[in-house]
Symmetry: D2
Subunit: 335 residues, 4 copies
């Protein structure tokens, strides 16, 4: 049993991680932590997330001494704010823990990315270099060797899983940037009080137009410029991405279908729905699946890709990475 701690356990992703680690027969949930000055320190996690009551009632401990926690942990899951992950991951890594970071702190290696999009200078370029991007269906070989896995963001997961098979096979006209419109549930903004997330203020709208930090994350890992427009939807969980792209000359629907189906033939958590099919949010909410549909007319392809933002877009993808890294069966604690 690998001793596993979750840092930032009080949030929505933290709670999902908690349940999955507790369910995982190869992992031992050995600690839940929140920041030292959190109002939630000391409370059982089930007081914040009532659905966990009777399943996991472990207290949320204040994270006061990283090295102390690190000394007794094999695996560290960071469900912390970006800058917090940046600050504390190295200490866990130096202590020999295997770290799965669900923040954006180690996802993108491009110069200038962190100051521009996260507002801080990255101090750990060595670890940034070593970090493996945890897009589980595509990077398993690297993940299996990594000490630091940067689990992808929710929008990037939905977007890349749809586009990657076609880009890698050169089926797209790369001159015309794919247009990614995506709608996320409110839980994507985290568990906190804010006017933006206030029930009566939530209504469908686009935000972060041309400026969302997931745009460069998607572009960097795809090696393709894209236009990415996120939206807030009036639901709690899930992401639906609708992607419009121009096909390379002469590419037809059959080629698209072949690539999509081949790409995901061996990866049960990505369900290639088939040509003419459209992903539905409801089919993936509360699951670790990604559903992808596609349609072709003339020179254009439209892809739809749906995930649960807290699971395939965060917690269950982290567990996928753990399963790969430590040789557990791929679906352990997920399906």
């Amino acid at each position: 049993m690998l001793k596993t701690v979750i840092i930032g356990a009080s949030g929505y992703t933290g709670a999902e991680l908690t349940r999955m680690v507790a369910d995982h027969q190869g992992l031992e949930l050995s600690g839940l932590y929140v920041s030292a000055n959190s109002v939630d320190a000391g409370k059982p996690i089930s007081e914040l997330h009532g659905w966990l009551r009777g399943q996991v009632d472990m207290p949320l401990q204040p994270l006061t001494d990283v090295s102390d926690v690190a000394s007794d942990a094999d695996i560290v899951l960071l469900a912390t704010a970006h800058e917090v992950s940046h600050d504390i991951a190295p200490a866990f890594l130096d202590a020999g823990c295997v770290v799965f970071d669900l923040s954006g702190a180690f996802r993108v290696k491009a110069e200038g990315f962190y100051p521009d999009y996260y507002g801080f200078e990255h101090q750990y370029s060595e670890w940034l270099d070593k970090a493996v991007y945890g897009l589980a269906e595509w990077n398993a070989p690297q993940i299996s060797q990594a000490q630091l896995v940067a689990v992808p963001g929710c929008y990037p997961t939905a977007s890349q899983l749809a586009l990657k098979p076609l880009l890698d096979a050169n089926l797209l006209d790369t001159e015309q940037w794919p247009v990614i419109n995506a709608v996320s549930g409110v839980s994507g903004a985290g568990r906190k009080a804010s006017m933006t997330n206030s029930f009566c203020e939530v209504s469908l709208h686009a935000y972060g137009i041309f400026s969302h930090r997931h745009q460069p994350e998607i572009s960097a890992h795809l090696g393709q410029d894209v236009i990415f427009t996120p939206h807030l939807g009036n639901f709690k969980r899930g992401i639906l991405a609708t992607i419009t792209a121009r096909l390379a000359d002469g590419v037809d629907e059959k080629q698209v279908t072949d690539k999509m189906e081949t790409a995901y033939q061996q990866t049960p958590l990505v369900r290639a729905l088939g040509a003419g099919k459209s992903a539905m949010l409801q089919s993936v909410q509360q699951t670790g699946f990604c559903d992808i549909g596609w349609s072709v007319r003339g020179q254009h392809v439209i892809l739809t890709s749906a995930i649960d933002n807290l699971l395939k877009g965060a917690a269950s993808q982290a567990i996928q990475c753990i399963n790969i890294r430590f040789g557990f069966s791929p679906l352990t604690a997920i399906v």
Copy 2:
């Protein structure tokens, strides 16, 4: 044209009042105010409430000098916190303004009520004595003479409009307290950032069990003990109250129907739906109506009563009171 100012205009009720005053042919919207230290001071109200854009773009002014505002106002609408209303209403009243207070500061005359339920001692017993309770369909004669109208709370409006015809006619067994279960939309909690109102935290539940301040408001004005259990629902606007009561000996459905229909024959904003009918939230949302249905079996009656909490439960009832007080046609700016 009567000069009308709205204090506390930034909230949901304030915005509804703003629209109705602007639409009212007998009123001139002469100022919108927020507390002196509000982050919203200086912004146009339509920046907070985008639907008002192009209709009312008046700025929200900081309320720094009550007497200055009072000197140029005929009518003052207080959509402020309870203690703020308590503190500032007297200055407006002393300046000769007619005040319509939408808070709880002047609704209940009972000894000990304010310390117990609002956490402050009432300092203005004289004004509390003079205040008229603005349950528009029932208290029109007093409202027409009042200088201070305490507009009823949202739950009390829905509850009293349903129960009052039967209680006044002695049709209920008063020994068994009527059981009022009511579900409110989230806007009832006001426009603010809080965990409770956070989109992902909202799900149907009861709160304030045996302890909500609207229970004594209802009991005091009905002259009848009741059990009142409020609930938060996963919708923005509206209240549905379901009321179970025991009938006095020998009372049958026909008597109930007669009283309900007679009570509201001349009051177009209360729609008596008839025996066997059930009020639907959707029929009253965004309207100034109260819908009431009732059913009788054996010794019991079940009443359902639906209003929009921001309108009939707040803003439009205040406008009804203005219409009564100043002799405007009853539905002006409401339907």
Copy 3:
């Protein structure tokens, strides 16, 4: 491995049963059936319920020959319409299957109940006599011996689990009927096209006032008259029941708390939240739990009870009954 068939598998409850039977290590999912003339016959269940895709893609077969199906089944789950269950259960029983009926066809033994509330005369009084009511936390000894288990309705489960500890301990004043107000998600009405369930028509309202068939089911099994008012809520899943009752003379909060906590000390799927606590819908949605809170003031107690209507109110309670009947560990395939 016990061969298990599900009749009526196309509905929402049928889909949940399908997943749980497929997950259950002691059961073999050996067939999914729909009525012979269903438009869904022949389709994989995952075409109707996209979330099952890749997990259970078994086809929905038309039920043409009950004895044929019965001859190869150990366990039969009936998620069928009431009259269908009534008509086909005996053939399964006569063939020796153990039948778990999720309809109302075998729940209530009272004379006149079926014509009055279900619109048909019951033809199988012998099986009705033998049927055991599957309220899992209370009737385990009888369930463990039964050939026919009538799994309780969703409202009755939420209501009885809250009231039974207090009634059995004579803590309530039985002269004043407990008032049960409950709100159900729309899935309670089943998977079908109807104006009532149409998205734009759904808004909170009471229905079946004084006439819902779950009222006599609750009363019969509690041995206590109650007033039960169901409501439709604007959410997909879950039931919240708020119950107001009068305590017997001299009963105080401590006695209530003792009984509630003792009653559910050994039953992990009922979570007694404690005095002053209120059940939240969100904590039980998508789970097999029932959460119960209670508050006492003076002579009154208010209980709140929340379940997922499709799980604890239907499918997972059926699995609990299977676990009891066949000696599996109580939480198998549920938590």
Copy 4:
């Protein structure tokens, strides 16, 4: 007072038209009609749309004799199915009525459009030629002379109002087709029982990919190919369109802003929000407004456009057309 009849008054758009015609000081609501075999014939409209109770309780009459109805009407509003409008509009027109058709029957003049997208051959090419497309802010001169106004569809209204100022000014690169992603509330599918609209089946998804009939309507009237992908959202009312387009060489944000603001300076129902602003669904729901925001980076522009699908996307735009046609003040019965 112009005598106005509404055909197809039982639907959601019909109900909105009913309220607006009843409120309009220049119109007399002289009849509400449904198809001759409708189950709703004979019922008061307020029985179907409870919010109208006490405001308009006029019965829905079966439409048995068009010429009879036509003989006593000045204005006919057709809120009927496409083929029904096609079949009955000519008789009203021949009788001299001015017809405002809210269906798709007279919107597009292109050859082959009706068989391909609506499944019927158009029989009235003369009326199709004469029909004026009722995009109110753009076609006022023609509307003011028309006998037949084809009121635009909901998606086309949101899309064209955003794109037209830029296309007309040649600010877009027309080689790269604008990508329109739009999400509609469920009321767009009409008032009817269907599995698709069933509450529990509704979740965000794209539909009609590459094949929706509003794509050619948009393209035809803009004179520009577009890629249009409609989505169903989990809300009752409103449309949000997010449009991504490539700017013509050398075009910058200032030029875009100038054109957008100039275009809608005199049209109060279109609110140009400004550069960097994003339209919010909530700001336009239940209103006759269209809100449009835009952002530019490099060679791309992203426009967001929000309307209420039943009002600016149907009923209130029809009233705008009536106001233009008969010389009423532009906002009569709308704001």
